[in-house]
Symmetry: C2
């Protein structure tokens, strides 16, 4: 049994409906999410002593430098202090880590962690370009035009070559995620798909097809974090963060030591489990960074839920469903819930909070979940953050 | 005498030459700064357990999303974890605050805080536009075209109207800052100017003239921070951070409650002094956010060094020179040292570190400085960070 120290908790969590949200600005999405977290916690903006705001690309998507300030003002979080945190697609998890440190340092007892991204204000091609600029924009993006579907297609190709992973196995990740997305009212894609539909979908970057790719999604998520003494006072069901791990790897894709996994994710996982003092088998539910179906398979392997190379078979056996060995992305994941990049890590934390409280939707609640894990990756491993949560 | 707790220290500090650095990429500037901090501390990249990297606008200036990852890799800071922090022009101070919290939480004992900005990769007009987008980019920038010289010109106009502050008094801020910039080998502008030159310089946004404005500067700065026990082991001259304050105010310039000062800076200062348990008179040297000459005058008033409205006279009396009541920006300030926005707050911390160690350049060292202060503002007060340092 685990015994990581219960020093910082999530006392409120929420998110807006993810999707192509042409009805709302990024500020309005942020407001929806913070409003949900306030409702959930019973707190008001006045209770918040500091805000840590994750947003990854508002400069490209919304033409706004310093986007966190605009959102903080709109959400009523002023005149308390705030800042913006960014770690590419792991932005939300980096923000949670900052809040954890700030609380334990005594600088603030109650912190709003907000993550948002309004990506559909630009055409899809421009959004894909902006994301591509999250890799190396001096050499790899400008010279080769490499965007993220291409990076992950190369990894999928190598994984298939080394381990015999199949396109069907990738598609089965998508089928599982869409099944759960359809049960999650906040998900972008609320439509179950068949294996045949996934396999027949058009090629995006071979071997990855449409249903292997996460979406260009607008969304926001928020969690309110508090110190132990405060959390116990204001909340009957605090969800504790007992393990945090964080590591990085090189900027250049062409220079990676491995294309079948992320060393940074392996290391971040190791740190988080060590700090939480639990073992893999203690984890009941996981949200991992499935920006592409191959990424979910690599994440399960990197974290150790299955041996490197056996992830495809693990998926095929149904071990990532509710009732399987490790229910994974049963909120739909980046694949079906959507991937508004600054919001994703915070949305993962919000989902695990609901799961550990037993408040997830019917059909996707993991029964008696005691430990949950989030695994959030920026770019192609330049950032890897793993957090472990418990009741 | 002060007695704020000495729990986190700066154990190494450095910066690159600020200027129009067409010889170097942002990664190379970052490397120069981290290299200086490593040299100064006797540490190597392997000693660093985490990096907090401040950069405000690399998306606009360098076409790079997730710029911190690229810099961390180039500076040899991988595979340890890292993240990017942004708070507009207060980015560097926000990064220091994150490092302070992370160290006290126990997540890391030694942290590299790096700030950089390579602004001259785009034409000056584009850089001014990008900065303008750090105000509200939906209404105020797009509708009115307001950029920062205009915002601060409006504040200067009001300050003149309410208190009789003169253009000569503004120019005297510039004369003082250029005098010290000429003595700082790392400053962008190494040229003393006369009052006449300042007064005759061309109008940028009336009443602000060329010499009232900070520069579009390329640069990077780095400080290495450590927990108390580690700091004492590796360093004979730790510089302690004993006070931190942080506050915000509204996004809309048109809705500000005051145009002669920043409420957020007043509040951030109050918090920092309370935490450091010192009084104003204890402070021997200050680096304040003089993005425009009027901003230095407002900062001196907001912090309480002089009564609101009397800042112009205070400057005229020479109280901000070495030997005056509060030597202010005797490194040249944003005005003459330069303002590479992500680097500025870190460069302030590096300067105060050198001052408290007695290692500043001849002619600008404040004798026997025991307490130093930094005041760093993002946008028009959306972010205000005040830190207090001591030997």
């Amino acid at each position: 049994m685990g015994k990581g120290e219960k020093k910082v908790a999530i006392v409120g969590a929420g998110q807006c409906k993810f999707g192509r949200r042409m009805d709302a600005s990024y500020r309005e999405l942020a407001y929806e999410a913070t409003h949900k977290a306030f409702e959930d916690s019973g707190l008001t903006p006045k209770d918040v002593q500091y805000s840590v705001i994750g947003v990854a690309g508002a400069e490209f998507f919304n033409g706004q430098l310093a986007p966190a300030a605009a959102a903080a003002d709109y959400c009523g979080l002023n005149p308390q202090g705030s800042m913006r945190v960014e770690a590419a697609c792991a932005t939300g998890s980096a923000a949670i880590r900052v809040a954890y440190g700030t609380i334990l340092s005594g600088l603030a007892d109650i912190i709003m962690v907000l993550g948002f991204e309004k990506m559909n204000e630009v055409p899809t091609a421009r959004a894909v370009e902006a994301l591509g600029r999250g890799g190396d924009a001096q050499w790899e993006f400008n010279w080769w035009g490499t965007t993220f579907p291409a990076f992950y297609a190369l990894m999928a190709t190598r994984h298939m070559h080394d381990f015999g992973t199949t396109e069907e196995q990738l598609a089965k990740v998508a089928v599982k995620s869409h099944k759960y997305g359809a049960l999650n009212p906040y998900a972008h894609m609320q439509k179950a798909i068949t294996l045949e539909e996934a396999m027949k979908s058009r090629v995006i970057a071979s071997p990855l097809k449409l249903y292997d790719c996460s979406l260009i999604t607008d969304g926001a998520a928020a969690v309110i974090m508090a110190s132990a003494s405060i959390a116990k006072k204001i909340c009957d069901t605090p969800v504790w963060i007992t393990g945090l791990g964080c590591a990085s790897e090189g900027e250049y894709f062409a220079a990676k030591p491995s294309y079948v996994g992320l060393n940074s994710a392996v290391e971040a996982g190791r740190q988080a489990f060590k700090m939480a003092k639990i073992e893999l088998k203690d984890v009941n539910v996981a949200d991992v960074h499935d920006c592409f179906t191959i990424a979910e398979i690599m994440a399960l392997e990197d974290l150790g839920f299955v041996k490197k190379g056996d992830g495809g078979k693990f998926v095929e056996e149904g071990q990532t469903y509710v009732g399987g060995k490790i229910p994974t992305n049963v909120d739909g994941g980046l694949k079906a819930k959507g991937h508004p990049i600054g919001a994703t890590g915070v949305s993962m934390a919000a989902e695990i909070t609901k799961q550990l409280r037993g408040e997830a939707d019917e059909g996707r609640q993991v029964s008696k979940a005691e430990y949950g894990l989030t695994h959030n990756v920026g770019a192609t491993g330049q950032y890897a953050y793993v957090h472990i949560y418990t009741r």
